[in-house]
């Protein structure tokens, strides 16, 4: 009889054995690690708080350490990084401040290592450095690098520390780190599948050489690794102090109880703040690649997919998300994996329910995402063949809408102050020779500047809505201008981006970046959203969704001449009806994912994002709120009259706007009468719409969209036929 090899885990167990046992206990008891009666932390709450606080402090200090050591603008200016502490099994115990997408994804990389027998086949030793960035394993795009460090105590692996950083260069095909032109896996750039890249707390020299030989921006990539390694070591050493002070037994039991206590808290929050039932909505997913240059020709096509979103809040306090009816995958880099969906869920849950600094795996255990149908957009069986440089857009559009669904639940419970929704964006990413003559990818972390959806008790926050990293719109612009050959023409809130409502959405702030001292430039989309022609369904309770987003390439006819004659340059959107008529340049309007396109010095690149939704009937908006917006230059008389039915005039003497209450009342009454006159019973509209569908008088892309959903889902097909009263054999 062969002697079983001693593991590196608890009491000589292998990590694999511990992971299997943990999974079994969760399945059998419904409680994390089978903790049906957690006691340790409750016995001495002060000690427990100290235990938690010291670990949290170590993570935040570690994150700051990384920012100091690293040199990349993504770390220092956008702070697109996060740290976490994980159990030996890879379960999240604590997260630092920062981008909360990775609560579970970091751990999924660790469990993948355990499931793939790293303990025996690769070896996991004190001081080993592991690196991962493959969304097929776990991740939201290949530009996110996970630096993973095991924590040993007297020869036993007792925890893991992980730092995640977004990189501007991962060696992907041009342009940028999230290439829209990528179709096949190799186009994603360099991949690390939980690779051991160092030992003894040092990166291997051959790893460094590989990076130096592979990336245009190897210096920044390696600096970020050193920042992450330094941060991980700092946290590891503090964990050793904590174990020394609290004892190993307390540490091991305590980290598990933190997860179970958070699971229970999450269930309690769901029951306290929401309403059980079925919530539904739809998200369009638009991909336009017919003009894109791809070497894999099946990728050269346009497609739209429908993503039906269903959330059931169950009486036991669980959330179940179901995407049945989602259409098929495609040859593009935007297919999210089921694990990637959990990334988008993580960030949304942490911002809406679990925002008290204790978010961990327990926050997600009451939330289930039903495995999407095989070969759907969310679950391609050929995922290993596909580029996964950018699975983010569909996932984040879905969860932008989901936040609004949850907001509906908060509203119904009376927690109107918690209502909001969000939207995602698209901008530019570039490649070329920069102002220093260096060829490299370039993408400013400044595309997330759009407003929050309206609250249930006040207007949405202007900009600041990017749920991942708020710094994207408040970062240090001057630093970005040093780093990328661009001049920022303006930072102005865009009144027409608004989602109107009794409370309006926050306003978005278009980026207006002029290329300056760039030679040989190519541009493409930096895609963070999946909508373009169809505006997302983000209006709440009578509020309108914000307007359509746009990407523009502006090429001045003669820039020097325009400047020398002191003619106006474009620095704002202004009136959306006449923006395209600017006389001194060619204004080219592009979709959210423009194909690779030549850009030139002094071209103006504009990312003009929409806003999410307003809340409530716009003609019930308090005129005082609109007056404040008028006085602050956040709106104008056109919007005020047309959308809110408010009459106002500017008092030149007092330098402020005056509301005409009587005229406003008359305008609003007239609008109500107008609605009652033009509104028709739904049945009447339904009959006309049904006829159109029966005759398939829809754009071919939409016909294909519905056909694709029907192909994968009997349930969707049945619901579609039932709603439109179509025969049982109707298909597109």
């Amino acid at each position: 009889m062969s002697k079983q090899k001693k593991g590196i885990g608890d009491r000589g167990q292998t990590l694999k054995r511990m992971l299997e046992e943990n999974r079994r206990l969760l399945k059998e008891t419904g409680c994390y690690a089978g903790l049906t009666q957690p006691q340790l932390l409750r016995q001495d709450p002060v000690k427990a708080e100290l235990f938690h606080s010291r670990m949290m402090s170590s993570l935040i200090a570690g994150r700051e350490t990384c920012k100091m050591v690293s040199g990349s603008p993504y770390v220092r200016e956008v702070a697109e990084l996060c740290m976490g502490i994980y159990t030996p099994e890879g379960d999240s115990v604590l997260q630092s401040t920062g981008i909360q997408v990775h609560v579970r994804l970091m751990g999924d990389n660790i469990t993948w290592m355990i499931d793939n027998n790293y303990e025996e086949d690769v070896g996991i030793n004190d001081g080993d450095l592991f690196l991962a960035n493959d969304p097929v394993i776990a991740g939201i795009h290949a530009a996110d690098l996970y630096d993973i460090l095991p924590v040993f105590w007297e020869g036993e692996l007792v925890a893991w520390v992980c730092t995640v950083i977004m990189e501007m260069d991962v060696g992907a095909v041009s342009p940028g780190c999230m290439p829209t032109t990528a179709v096949e896996r190799g186009a994603d750039g360099i991949k690390f599948c939980c690779e051991k890249v160092g030992s003894g707390d040092r990166l291997r020299r051959d790893f460094e050489i590989k990076i130096e030989m592979s990336l245009d921006m190897s210096d920044l990539f390696l600096l970020d690794r050193k920042g992450a390694v330094a941060a991980n070591i700092r946290v590891r050493e503090e964990l050793k102090h904590i174990i020394g002070d609290f004892g190993l037994d307390y540490f091991k039991a305590g980290i598990k109880e933190l997860i179970e206590e958070e699971r229970r808290s999450q269930v309690a929050r769901i029951k306290q703040r929401t309403v059980p039932g079925r919530y539904k909505d739809v998200v369009p997913f638009e991909i336009y690649m017919a003009e894109t240059q791809t070497s894999w020709l099946p990728g050269k096509r346009d497609m739209i997919r429908l993503i039906p979103v269903r959330m059931d809040i169950l009486p036991e306090g669980r959330l179940v998300l179901d995407f049945d009816g989602v259409g098929e995958w495609g040859w593009h880099p935007f297919n999210p994996t089921p694990k990637g969906l959990y990334g988008a869920l993580s960030i949304s849950v942490v911002q809406t329910l679990s925002y008290d600094g204790r978010a961990n795996l327990g926050s997600l255990l009451p939330c289930e995402i039903k495995t999407p149908p095989v070969d759907s957009l969310f679950n391609p069986s050929l995922i290993k063949k596909l580029a996964t440089g950018n699975p983010w857009p569909a996932a984040i559009d879905v969860f932008s809408l989901w936040v609004g669904m949850l907001g509906t639940a908060f509203y119904m419970r009376g927690f109107r102050e918690e209502v909001f929704n969000k939207i995602s964006s698209s901008g530019w990413q570039l490649a070329g020779f920069d102002q220093f003559g260096v060829k490299r990818p370039m993408m400013a972390g400044t595309t997330g500047n759009f407003g929050c959806g309206a609250s249930g008790v006040c207007d949405g926050v202007d900009t600041g809505a990017w749920i991942a990293t708020m710094e994207t719109d408040t970062g240090n612009w001057e630093v970005w201008q040093l780093f990328i050959p661009e001049i920022y023409m303006s930072r102005m809130l865009e009144p027409y981006s608004v989602g109107c409502g009794r409370y309006r959405s926050g306003l978005s702030m278009p980026t207006m970046d002029m290329l300056h001292r760039v030679t040989v430039g190519i541009g493409s989309g930096a895609i963070g959203c999946a909508h373009d022609r169809i505006i997302p369904n983000l209006g709440l309770f009578g509020g309108y969704p914000g307007g359509k987003r746009n990407t523009f390439l502006v090429r001045y006819h003669d820039f020097k001449d325009t400047v020398s004659k002191r003619l106006p340059l474009i620095h704002e959107i202004g009136d959306p009806r006449t923006f395209m008529d600017y006389p001194y340049a060619e204004v080219r309007r592009l979709n959210h994912m423009p194909p690779t396109i030549e850009v030139k010095d002094k071209d103006l690149l504009i990312a003009d994002n929409g806003s999410p939704g307003g809340l409530g009937d716009p003609i019930e908006r308090d005129p005082a709120l609109q007056k404040a917006d008028l006085d602050n230059g956040l709106t104008n008389l056109d919007i005020t009259r047309r959308m809110y039915c408010i009459e106002a005039s500017y008092d030149e003497k007092a330098k402020e706007w005056r509301i005409d209450q009587k005229a406003t009342s008359q305008l609003r009454e007239a609008r109500r009468r107008e609605r009652l006159a033009r509104g028709v019973p739904v049945e009447k509209w339904w009959q006309q719409a049904r006829q159109r569908i029966q005759e398939k008088r829809l754009d071919p892309l939409l016909v294909e969209m519905y056909r694709s959903s029907m192909k994968l889902s009997e349930g969707f097909t049945r619901e579609y036929r039932d709603f439109w009263g179509l025969p049982g054999d109707f298909t597109f």
Binding site: G277, Y279, V282, C458, N537, F541, D617, E683
Partner: protein, 182 residues
């Protein structure tokens, strides 16, 4: 943790400054919020039926005899809550560039070949109850079907007098419309 009804009225009516709203957001949530919320709303509507659940700015699921119906605060009734109330509303669909540009002028306008914006009005008062932006050909979305009995019995500990299975009955409406097509 609890707030007075006056504080909550100020919150709902937009009378609180942001600093105070933020304070409420940052504190632990109050367990009696729903009860006070419904009491405030009940005081404000001009009718007597018991509000079971507010489901929008103007809409409530109310108890009317043995029925549970959706009712606008103006008094207009939109039928059994298990049928999508939108089917009983008035609809105005922005499906041309001209109609869309009334709301989304110029470059803000979505593509009418792909996107339509549906506005649902209360037939009683003309209030805009919901705006729905979806791909052309998409069924009307049934935003929310609550499990009222589980909510009252298991979460609030105040069971309702009778049980009703939370089953989506919207198809009954569209089937009747289909039957009416000659």
């Amino acid at each position: 943790m609890s707030y007075s009804k006056e504080d909550l009225k100020d919150l709902y009516d937009g009378r609180l400054p942001w600093e105070k709203i933020k304070e409420i957001m940052s504190r632990p949530k109050d367990d009696d919020r729903f009860q006070k919320y419904v009491e405030i709303l009940q005081e404000r509507v001009p009718w007597k039926e018991r509000i079971l659940l507010p489901i929008g700015e103007h809409l409530y699921i109310v108890e009317k005899g043995a029925e549970r119906i959706v009712k606008c605060d103006c008094g207009h009734e939109l039928g059994d809550y298990r049928r999508n109330w939108k089917l009983a509303a008035l609809i105005f669909v922005r499906d041309t560039r001209q109609k869309l540009e009334e709301v989304y002028p110029g470059i803000r306008c979505p593509d009418p070949d792909f996107c339509e914006v549906r506005e649902f009005y209360c037939p009683g008062c003309g209030a805009l109850l919901k705006v729905e932006s979806v791909p052309v050909g998409c069924p009307i979305v049934f935003d929310f079907l609550p499990n009222l009995d589980a909510f009252y019995r298991e979460w609030l500990g105040r069971p309702l007098a009778t049980d009703q299975e939370p089953k989506d009955l919207s198809n009954e409406v569209t089937l009747s419309w289909r039957a009416g097509i000659t």
